[in-house]
């Protein structure tokens, strides 16, 4: 294996770049899970966001408008899941599984119907990176950390904001209360349905942007069928691996991004592992994470349980 500053810098840059969609989606999922909703449908929502972004790019030609489109599509997609889960109390896992199958079919059909061929094959349009002055001149980490897409910087800021929100604000406390004891929160006059619904909307927006990032930044403005390839499921695992804490989730995302990056950068550092095994590595990492994190979990206690007034 070769370890010179340039390859390490490239690997780090790729790890962060590929960790970003995971970070965005898992931060979104974190909000839902804190209120007691386990959103397996993340994969499908991300897929809709990814499609929406490329569709937006085709309509407007402006990358940032495309990101907004991705967010909007993510929000609409989550709206469907939220009506089923938060309002109608449908089983969260069942709806998630159904929604993911639906999303795979719907985005493929929509791609066929509305996307022009240029947006189905590689090209160079994407959201440009922004070099943070001074910091981007630092050796090794300079180019890797401080010369990324502005969306990534936004995600980091959001992570910190979420941390403050859940730790230091009254509304954050209410969100957590709904996840820890929905009946008690209900008795205290909090609308469990409204809180869960709004938490899921945040999840949808974040996951939609994650899908937009995946297509616009990580794959050059192209949508192909099943472009998410399990990243939505991974993001759910990242939240658990990061123990429902925004900052840990951020670090976990970069770790998973690094596993993802090895498939592109592995050759450069002289790592001769077959590509499918490298593609497998993030999922393997998630599994190992379970062995390590184990029973010491501190997650919301009512996760996955539909709320019914008067039932314990």
């Amino acid at each position: 294996m070769v370890f010179d500053p340039i390859t390490i810098s490239l690997l780090l840059a790729a790890a962060i770049r590929l960790g970003a969609p995971m970070l965005l989606a898992s931060l979104g999922e974190l909000v839902s899970e804190r209120t007691g909703v386990l959103n397996i449908g993340l994969e499908g929502i991300m897929l809709f966001g990814a499609f929406g972004a490329v569709f937006g790019l085709q309509l407007t030609g402006m990358p940032y408008a495309a990101v907004a489109f991705g967010a909007l599509w993510g929000m609409l997609a989550v709206g469907v899941v939220a009506i089923a889960v938060a309002s109608l109390r449908a089983d969260q896992i069942v709806v998630g599984i159904g929604f993911n199958i639906l999303a795979l079919g719907a985005t493929s059909l929509l791609r066929d119907m509305v996307l022009s061929p240029a947006f189905q094959s590689p090209s160079l349009r994407n959201v440009s990176s922004y070099r943070i002055p001074y910091f981007s001149e630092l050796p090794i980490v300079g180019r890797a950390v401080f010369s990324q897409s502005p969306i990534l910087y936004g995600a980091v800021i959001v992570a910190i904001l979420f941390w403050i929100f859940f730790r230091h604000t009254r509304l954050g406390l209410i969100f957590r209360a709904v996840g820890e004891g929905a009946s008690a929160a209900d008795a205290a006059g909090i609308s469990v349905t409204n809180i869960r619904f709004s938490a899921m909307l945040v999840t949808g927006i974040m996951t939609g942007i994650a899908g937009a990032y995946l297509t616009l930044v990580a794959s050059g403005g192209v949508f192909v069928d099943n472009i998410t390839g399990g990243r939505g499921y991974l993001a759910v695992a990242v939240v658990i691996f990061g123990r429902w804490h925004p900052i840990w989730v951020m670090l976990a995302s970069i770790l998973f991004g690094a596993a993802d990056a090895l498939q592109y950068q592995g050759q450069a550092i002289g790592l001769s592992i077959s590509p499918p095994l490298l593609l497998m590595s993030p999922f393997l990492l998630a599994l190992i994470a379970w062995v390590l994190v184990g029973k010491s979990k501190t997650g919301p206690s009512e996760i996955g349980i539909p709320f019914l007034r008067g039932q314990k």
């Binding site: 599984i97 069928d225 996955g304």
Partner: protein
């Protein structure tokens, strides 16, 4: 999620009664709700077809003809049904025990690997003996893959939903790795293994169709699991453990052992699904051979009220949707993605109906996450 058998309708006590009562009982039954979800999905599907510029009636005619119109069509429908039914049976036996096995997809990948190994590596002189050996080997590989999430749950408290989902992808990439490397014949550029020995091939049942003997295996497994669930002590315990782990524990049932056994069966049956697909349809291990059979199976299990008989009926419907959309694609060039939409929609509808009934105080499904 704790399933309740369809017969156990909330109005079952008020037998007899007026016409209105009867209507209420019909509309409250599980089968009716499932039918409604399918009907609404079908209508939406026809709307999508109309928006694609296809005459809905014509499309429906092509689909039905493609699914049941000829001997070949029926053979195709049943061939499509076979792996999906096995995957569905795998999912339901685990979920009935309260273990949310979302990993049928991964377990059937392992099953395919397990079937291909003896079918390509053992001496072909073994002849037809290779077929049972390959199927059993596939089941064992699937069972092994199913055992890992249970052990992780019992040992480390790992959430089986996440673990089984992760293991799906590990299984998929394992197949990808094997067909690009160790199992790829020398000098071949295709991502597939060598062809299996003739003796391992599941024979075609009706000449001129793709229907193979795997369908009989699937039906036998369905009957076996029904008998196991409803006519054995193990089955009763398994259902109690699924409905109320607390009761099971208070009754002194060996809860861990029950979950482990149900997952061994579940993984084994899912492994058979993969094995049957390799030995009856593909004759090789091919990258991406499954096209989400495992998730289809999960969908079928849920739509079939987690009953073996329900799974058989819904699996035939899914087989018909598959062969019907193939016909749509070849005659009217409608994208096959429509089949995915027609799979996902009824699940969401049914879950919503059940959730709404739960909200109104008539629990049918409730989460035991």
């Amino acid at each position: 999620m704790t399933p309740i058998s369809p017969g156990q309708s909330d109005n079952a006590a008020s037998a007899g009664g007026s016409m209105a009562d009867l209507m209420k009982r019909i509309t409250g039954s599980n089968a009716f709700l499932v039918l409604m979800s399918f009907a609404v999905s079908m209508i939406i599907g026809l709307f999508i077809l109309a928006s694609l510029g296809v005459e809905p009636v014509e499309a429906l005619r092509v689909m039905i003809k493609g699914a049941f119109g000829s001997r070949m069509a029926i053979g195709d429908t049943l061939a499509f049904m076979t792996p999906r039914l096995l995957a569905a049976l795998a999912a339901l036996i685990a979920i009935r025990c309260g273990f949310y096995n979302l990993g049928a997809e991964g377990q059937l990948q392992l099953g395919a690997i397990g079937a291909v190994l003896p079918a390509t590596l053992l001496p072909p002189e073994l002849g037809v003996l290779l077929m049972p050996i390959s199927i059993v080997s596939g089941a064992l590989f699937g069972a092994f893959w199913g055992l890992i999430p249970v052990l992780l749950k019992l040992w480390r408290g790992a959430n089986e939903i996440i673990v089984t989902l992760m293991m799906n992808f590990i299984g998929i990439y394992l197949v990808k790795y094997l067909v690009q490397g160790p199992l790829q014949p020398h000098g071949s550029d295709f991502n597939m293994s060598a062809k299996i020995a003739d003796g391992a091939i599941l024979p075609v049942l009706v000449n001129g169709t793709r229907l193979h003997a795997g369908v009989l295996l699937a039906l036998v497994v369905a009957v076996a699991l029904w008998a196991l669930l409803y006519h054995s002590t193990f089955g009763i315990r398994l259902r109690v453990a699924g409905l109320s782990p607390k009761t099971a524990r208070l009754q002194g049932m060996p809860l861990s052992r029950l979950i482990v056994s149900s997952m061994l069966i579940s993984g084994g049956v899912a492994g058979m699904a993969g094995a049957v697909e390799v030995l009856g349809v593909q004759y090789r291990l091919i990258d991406g051979f499954s096209s989400s059979l495992g998730f289809d199976g999960l969908a079928i299990a849920l739509l079939g009220s987690l009953e073996p008989l329900g799974a058989v009926i819904v699996a035939i419907y899914f087989g018909a949707i598959s062969s019907g959309t193939v016909a749509l694609q070849s005659t009217l060039s409608i994208p096959a993605a429509l089949a995915l939409i027609m799979t996902g929609l009824p699940i969401i509808f049914l879950a919503c109906i059940h959730g709404y009934r739960f909200l109104k105080g008539r629990p049918l499904w409730s989460s035991t996450l």
